[in-house]
């Protein structure tokens, strides 16, 4: 049973435009969400996170939005750059003090120059 779903395996965006990566979750016990970026032959790198008490968190070109009622979060990258081309993983944590992160399968973003 996949509790964190990234339904788009891939996404292509023109350089300078907005990239929107989506993530849905099924477990209402999740209270903290993270996005990781992964380049080929490297491990995932933490990008940005959001607590369930917020609906938005921004860091430079990256913004994460959380819609708890819809159990949906999204990562916006504006403007997209070729160096953003990578696989993006959404991850969720169940409760405070739990170390377990549940990951989605990832979305491969390609930013076309």
């Amino acid at each position: 049973d996949q509790q964190v779903k990234q339904n788009s395996p891939s996404l292509s965006v023109q350089e300078g435009r907005i990239s929107i990566l989506n993530c849905d979750y099924t477990n209402s016990m999740f209270d903290y969400f993270l996005w990781y970026k992964k380049y080929p032959a490297e491990g995932p790198t933490f990008l940005i996170s959001i607590s369930s008490i917020k609906d938005k968190n921004e860091d430079g070109r990256f913004t994460v939005f959380l819609n708890k009622s819809a159990k949906h979060l999204s990562l916006h990258i504006v403007p997209s750059q070729p160096g953003d081309s990578a696989v993006y993983f959404c991850a969720a944590r169940k409760r405070a003090g739990s170390y377990q992160l549940t990951f989605g399968k990832g979305t491969k973003l390609s930013v076309i120059p």
């Binding site: 490297e42 170390y99 377990q100």
Partner: protein, 112 residues
């Protein structure tokens, strides 16, 4: 630079031949994790250590064991690798008081 290091990056073993994967960290983090990631799948947590306390996920096969001799090192032992154990194995660490996990580059295991 502080980091998470995994050796080797690529490991080939034979069906049934024990193999050990290594992870070390210079971050001095309390928690170390091992994940298995198969092609086009999500990383799946196998187990983690909080200091010396070992926490096994309920669905981690008995074939997988782990050791953490000190803060810096953690090993993944696969006692009798099967073809289905071919995957990328990711080590991660976290301070223990945040949820951000820092990953190593992974070891890709091939089972012949």
């Amino acid at each position: 630079d502080a980091m998470v290091i995994q050796n080797p990056r690529y490991q080939v073993t034979q069906f049934g031949k024990p193999v050990t994967l290594s992870c070390s960290q210079t971050l001095n983090h309390n928690v170390m994790y091992w994940y298995q990631q198969k092609s086009s799948q999500a990383p799946k947590l196998l187990f983690h250590y909080y200091d010396k306390d070992f926490n096994n996920e309920a669905d981690t096969p008995d074939n997988f064991q782990s050791r953490r001799p000190n803060t810096s090192f953690c090993f993944l032992d696969i006692r009798s690798p099967g073809l289905g154990d071919a995957a990328m194995y990711l080590c991660a660490t976290s301070p223990g008081d945040t949820d951000t996990q820092y990953f190593g580059p992974g070891t890709r295991l091939t089972v012949l």
